[in-house]
């Protein structure tokens, strides 16, 4: 897995809530038995016309987002199917980070990313950043008024610095375990195999049908 430490890239926006993994990578591409080749098919049904041409009405096809590697999007991104193909498609389409807002609902807030998507992202070095609704609104406004805006995401410092003048900075939270894994590009299976003795000991006494 490619480690994530610091990344600078153009920020693009796809301002819709509840973007599901069927929309990120439609089912016809799930027949592949490979781990690669999904990038050009990310957001397929929105991205291309029925004639197979780039759809000029799709936000991410705008010229000003060419070469983008950071995506700002809506709440509950990656909901629905557990398909890791969605994360592979985004990574292979050049995204290194996705930013989305938590949604405030009275006292509680709904997380920016669906659970399984968030886990799949971490396994593939894709950084997902949850900000507040206000922060994302501000970010969207700045992207709107600054064509080709770049941002630098520093995972060590947990900061997003926008290439505006003056620079705007957004701080973000991340689970320490996920942060460490991303920074080191760690292989989770190798990590777990360090505890193989614990697993064996557990199996010796585990009775799935008894208390």
């Amino acid at each position: 897995m490619k480690p994530f430490t610091i990344h600078t890239g153009i920020v693009a926006t796809l301002n819709r809530a509840n973007i599901d993994t069927d929309a990120i990578i439609p089912k016809q591409f799930l027949k592949s038995i490979e781990r690669t080749g999904y990038g050009p098919n990310a957001f397929f049904d929105w991205r291309y016309t029925s004639a197979g041409e780039p759809n000029p009405d799709f936000e991410l096809n705008q010229k000003r987002f060419e070469g983008r590697s950071i995506l700002v999007t809506g709440n509950n991104f990656g909901c629905g199917s557990s398909r890791e193909h969605a994360v592979w498609a985004l990574v292979q389409d050049g995204y290194r980070a996705i930013i989305a807002p938590a949604k405030e609902m009275g006292e509680k807030s709904l997380p920016a990313f669906a659970d399984i998507f968030r886990i799949n992202a971490a396994k593939n070095g894709l950084l997902v950043i949850e900000l507040s609704e206000d922060q994302v609104d501000k970010l969207l406004g700045l992207i709107e008024t600054h064509k080709g805006l770049k941002a630098t995401i520093d995972l060590v410092e947990q900061k997003i610095v926008l290439g505006t003048d003056p620079a705007h900075t957004f701080e973000f939270d991340i689970e320490p375990g996920t942060k460490e894994r991303l920074l080191n590009g760690m292989d989770d299976i190798a990590q777990t195999l360090r505890y193989e003795k614990d697993i064996t000991r557990f199996e010796e006494s585990h009775d799935p049908l008894g208390s």
């Binding site: 509840n18 038995i33 199917s81 399984i116 193989e196 049908l209």
Partner: protein, 469 residues
């Protein structure tokens, strides 16, 4: 303080805590299908990893499988390649496979319970979000991605953060023609498609206790549509009857069964257990549900009109505008005036014998409307055989339905069963996302009775009144 059902199973399966505060959790059963597993097996080959517990993994083919005779000879070379890959992987790694043509083949979430692979108190995972279905038995069951599939194959564990608990009580009894499908759609409408995020739902209350296992599976199946990590229902007599009343090849027997039952009786949440969140829903006030938009939370009572943009809590004006444009619906339209082109009765949500019986009861002595295509797809080959033994297939065929072989079919359009652009479907499945049943296809989620009635009427109907007319 008492413990919840979830906490009891979580604690029992904790291998150890990890330095970052997460838990290494032991996995008792791993279900595998052709779509989300090939890259995991390939990863193992590349890394030289062995499978740790092949006897705890069970595989089948469901997503790609044609539901006609073509299934034994798949035309699409890409689908065939994926199906062949699973055969080879199961062979090479020693995993039990219920292949196409096997008497036990079917949708992965249908065959697990049917064969007694799914049992109370277990941890169950599958590279598929609707693994939540198995929670109906009081198991902790959740969907995982392909990297996690590989992690389970190699280590029989997963690294997990402890989710929160969310008690979902359905009090009172639903009226006639209101099913667990309507109950769970109502709930998703109330809390939203992210309302359960980070939580394990425990469904309880009088209306849940009264449900059959089939109906409980429908309910837990759709927990993921509320964004929940899992959904669970405490095991009780209904659960134990289901497991013991039929020959289920992987269920415990004799002394093992007695010991297991004693354990299962300890699983229900203690009366003084505390949940992180809770919600009570009055089941008596739930009407038959129908979705109008492009996610399962965009749902209304059948006797309500399509909502106006700006009037729906939790959705912005543009969310509603986009959804209505995609669905080809105008605000204010009565759902009972909306025609359907296709009716799909099937999927891991509603393809079990009880669902087929409900649909057959509506279709018995009636005919589908001429312009409607009606597809009835049993969830497993066992269900197909049972339905035929009960004569349900004859009712379906007489009503003009296509009676198919088991598979995911039109739930996700990875196989030949697909909607054409702008075709409108009444479907008993679980997702009405854009393109889910075919590019530009329009899906409305309903119960099996409502789907069957829509096939006859050629449009959505309020089943409660329609049956009296």
């Amino acid at each position: 303080m008492g413990k919840t059902l979830f906490e009891k199973i979580w604690t029992k399966h904790k291998v150890r805590e990890l330095p970052d505060g997460s838990t290494l959790l032991y996995i008792d059963r791993h279900l595998v299908h052709e779509v989300t597993s090939p890259q995991a097996f390939e990863g193992m080959r590349i890394a030289g990893h062995a499978i740790r517990a092949p006897h705890l993994a069970f595989a089948t083919m469901d997503h790609n499988v044609p539901t006609t005779e073509e299934r034994l000879n798949i035309d699409d070379p890409v689908s065939k390649n994926q199906v062949d890959a699973l055969r080879k992987n199961c062979h090479d790694f020693g995993v039990k496979l219920f292949d196409i043509g096997d008497d036990h083949q079917g949708i992965v979430h249908v065959i697990g319970p049917e064969m007694g692979i799914t049992l109370p108190g277990l941890t169950i995972v599958c590279g598929d979000s609707h693994t939540s279905t198995h929670g109906a038995f009081g198991a902790l069951a959740f969907g995982i991605g392909t990297s996690e599939v590989e992690h389970v194959l190699v280590t029989q564990t997963l690294v997990q953060r402890k989710p929160g608990t969310y008690k979902m009580a359905f009090e009172g009894r639903p009226g006639p023609h209101v099913f667990s499908k309507d109950m769970v759609l109502k709930m998703i409408g109330a809390i939203g498609t992210a309302g359960g995020a980070g939580s394990v739902l425990e469904f309880c209350g009088e209306a849940v206790r009264a449900l059959s296992m089939e109906a409980r599976m429908t309910m837990c199946n759709m927990s993921i549509e509320a964004g929940a990590r899992a959904g669970m229902i405490a095991p009780d007599d209904t659960t134990i009857d289901y497991i013991t009343s039929k020959e289920r090849p992987y269920a415990p027997r004799g002394e093992n069964l007695d010991r297991a039952v004693a354990y299962w009786r300890t699983l229900p949440s203690d009366t003084d257990a505390e949940f992180d969140r809770s919600l009570t829903i009055d089941a008596a006030r739930i009407a038959p549900q129908v979705t109008w938009g492009t996610n399962p939370g965009m749902v209304i009572d059948i006797d309500q009109p399509v909502p106006e943009p700006g009037s729906t809590e939790g959705y912005s004006r543009s969310d509603v505008d986009n959804a209505l444009a995609y669905m080809g619906l105008k605000p204010g339209t009565k759902m009972t005036d909306v025609p359907v082109d296709v009716v799909f009765i099937g999927s891991c949500t509603n393809s079990r014998i009880e669902d087929l019986r409900q649909a057959a009861a509506i279709l018995d002595g009636r005919k589908k409307a001429d312009q409607v295509d009606l597809l009835v797809v049993p969830g497993s080959h066992q269900i197909r055989l049972q339905a035929e033994a009960e004569g349900l297939d004859k009712i379906f065929k007489a009503a003009g339905a296509q009676w198919r072989y088991a598979g995911c079919s039109m739930c996700l359009a990875m196989n030949p069963d697909q909607l054409q652009p702008r075709q409108r479907a009444a479907a008993t499945s679980n997702r009405n996302f854009e393109g889910r049943q075919g590019k530009d296809g329009r899906t409305h989620l309903v119960s099996p009775e409502m789907a069957a009635a829509a096939a006859v009427a050629g449009k959505f109907v309020d089943i409660r009144q329609w049956l009296n007319t």
